[in-house]
């Protein structure tokens, strides 16, 4: 397999002074990556596959190991897209405008938990949760206030919304129309990745079968009407946050993506009609070199799967384009200013790995929602990497590093083993229902936790270099009145709308949910007529039931 002359590392190593120990006397840290890949002391040319054109190729060309664009950040920087949202639509709108004024180039909406799991703010189940971890959007009116004064023709908007993605997209479409922007001109992303909710993130509503149908209804609708919209943002981020390794993050994400491709094919779509609008979302975690290798391996794996397995012809169908967020779980509540450094290193990994857009966490996010000040530092971190570090001038600058190339190969091989295993189990859905990937993540998470407690993993300020400190930080707190005001708003809306019409629409929706027609147009009609998010979800819950997890 190797055409290079063999370089004998063993001979070199046996000639070394034996006192050159590989173990620092003061440390229990192990020399392996998060995925348990043992790290060599030095890497050499024959530590990785040297079939350059086959394994790497040029940037912008199959298998896209070196990136999806030939000119990468020379042509255009990544989109700096800070995830934001809290309290009411009006307050989040203010934050959006502040971030845009600071040079942010795309919007990313964080929704509160009631919105994410399909309840209106006045539902008794959501007591205390309204506006807490994101913005509360229950009605078209809320969406109008969220985007007030922002031209949908000019901005691209990413929405972290899954089980009810179709409803939030419907609201966005209607607001666009009211601004005179037709759906085909709207740019943005809905996460719409329900499988990882069952697997890792937990904000599911319906059982997998009907929820996958809703996912694919949205894909079908967009492929016809919204060609610029990214329909599914297949997410490894939350899998990693749940405690997985880098290899598991890649493997489980791609296995989920395969399930979406198959679901879309099964309703008669052509692969090149929807695959270009599937995007990905990865974590940027602690180990810089492993993370860079992870992005490169993921691109190569996806390109091969799309070309060889699904016969995708368009280059865009084979390209893995991704958003990155720095690892929330790596932030520490202790000595929280250190998080600025952590975030900078992780963001650098994402850029060296060729990300298309990036969210950098704010230093206070281990404890609270970011203040305007900490959110600005996070954005400035990206701007410093982009304009001061010099890494953007060369495409895929770590290519050819023996270590990075070897890790890229290793992650690809190990991820493929998982992907094959899941395939044998009948695909991602069957595997998730059996609890297999959940168990793998749980074991990895526990192993990491033990390693931290045993000081094999050092976390500065937590299990080493601890200092006594009292928290002097300022926290952003969400006023409890927000919940009350949101409750009132939704009740006022229900009182003023045409109830008869709303009920008739809900009835039609219930019937349609039992059939097979695409639900998107009907959901758009519902939101246009002020049927609320909670009501739409309740109608669907009544027909489809609710999901109960299968693990533990």
């Amino acid at each position: 397999m190797n055409s290079r002359p063999r370089i004998n590392k063993d001979v070199w190593e046996t000639g070394l002074d034996p006192s050159n120990s590989d173990k620092r006397f003061d440390s229990h840290e192990s020399f392996e990556t998060s995925s348990g890949i043992p790290l060599e002391r030095v890497y050499l040319p024959d530590d990785y596959s040297d079939h350059y054109l086959e394994q790497s190729g040029f940037p912008g060309e199959y298998p896209f190991t070196r990136g999806v664009h030939s000119n990468m950040y020379r042509g255009r920087l990544w989109t700096m897209r800070q995830y934001a949202g809290y309290a009411s639509a009006a307050q989040t709108n203010d934050r959006f405008k502040f971030l845009m004024a600071q040079g942010q180039t795309g919007l990313s909406v964080a929704f509160d938990l009631p919105t994410q799991i399909g309840y209106d703010p006045d539902d008794p189940l959501v007591l205390g949760e309204v506006g807490k971890v994101g913005v509360s959007i229950a009605t078209l009116d809320d969406m109008a206030r969220l985007m007030d004064g922002i031209s949908l023709a000019e901005i691209s908007t990413s929405m972290t919304i899954n089980a009810p993605a179709a409803i939030l997209l419907a609201m966005y479409v209607v607001i666009g129309k009211r601004q005179g922007v037709e759906p085909e001109r709207l740019r943005g992303t809905v996460q719409n990745d329900i499988l990882k909710e069952y697997l890792a993130r937990g904000t599911y509503i319906f059982p997998p079968g009907p929820s996958m149908r809703l996912t694919i209804d949205l894909v079908r609708y967009c492929s016809k009407n919204m060609p610029l919209w990214n329909t599914i943002n297949v997410s490894g981020y939350h899998i990693r946050e749940a405690g997985s390794t880098a290899v598991q993050e890649v493997a489980f994400t791609l296995a989920n993506a395969v399930a979406y491709v198959e679901a879309a094919l099964s309703v008669g779509m052509q692969v090149d009609d929807f695959a270009p609008r599937l995007t990905f979302f990865f974590n940027a975690h602690r180990n810089l070199l492993e993370e860079v290798a992870k992005y490169r391996a993921a691109r190569r794996l996806w390109a091969r799967m799309m070309k060889e397995r699904f016969n995708a012809r368009k280059a865009e169908s084979q390209m893995l384009r991704f958003h990155t967020q720095t690892g929330g779980s790596t932030l520490t509540a202790q000595q929280s200013e250190n998080n600025i450094t952590r975030v900078a290193l992780q963001a650098l990994a994402a850029v060296l790995g060729g990300t298309q857009s990036l969210h950098t966490n704010a230093m206070d996010e281990a404890l609270t929602l970011p203040t305007a000040h900490s959110a600005m530092i996070a954005l400035r971190t990206q701007q410093i990497i982009a304009h001061e570090s010099g890494v953007c001038a060369t495409v895929d600058p770590l290519a050819g590093s023996y270590a990075v190339e070897a890790l890229t190969d290793e992650i690809e091989v190990r991820a493929q083993v998982y992907i094959d295993r899941i395939e044998e189990m009948g695909g991602a859905l069957a595997a998730i229902e059996s609890g297999y990937p959940q168990r793998e993540i749980r074991d990895a998470s526990y192993a990491y936790h033990l390693a931290m407690e045993e000081h094999e993993q050092i976390v500065v300020g937590v299990n080493a270099f601890v200092s006594d400190e009292t928290s002097t930080e300022r926290h952003l707190t969400v006023d409890d009145n927000v919940e009350e005001r949101q409750r009132e708003r939704v009740q006022i809306l229900r009182a003023r709308r045409d109830d008869e019409r709303a009920n008739a629409l809900r009835h039609r929706l219930a019937l349609a949910a039992q059939g097979t027609e695409n639900l998107m147009p009907l959901i758009i009609e519902c939101v246009e007529n002020d049927v609320t998010l909670g009501e739409i979800c309740q109608t669907l819950r009544d027909v489809w039931g609710q999901y109960h997890p299968a693990d533990f």
Binding site: L125, V126, E129, A333, N463
Partner: protein, 136 residues
Amino acid sequence: MGKHPIRVLIAKLGLDGHDRGAKIIARSLRDAGMEVVYTGLRQTPAMIAEAALHEDVNVVGISILSGAHNTLLPTLMDKLREQNLAHIPVIVGGIVPDCDVNTLMDAGVSAVFGPGTLTSDIVTSIANVIESDLQD
């Protein structure tokens, strides 16, 4: 009494889906020899009080990261009182800003553990609260 396993309820209060911490704690407590009744996500205060009643647990452990702790934990304490279970110690883990800790302690919570707490400290603390509970 000491030779029988301590029974602990570990529950996710509120709507957030982040159960990594809860699962790590559940496993650590198991490895420390306790029997852990794990309820999973999206538990309401009433559900948790009912589980505590049915399972006759020695301690209730709550994981919450959604920011709704100031509303939900006092409600949980009320529900436990309604079931005559006010004697069961309640400990909380998750993201609770310093300024809210006192509010929760006033509501009757026995301990609040923030991010980065060693599980060995949590195990010790559970053993301690149960010890004092038995002496009462």
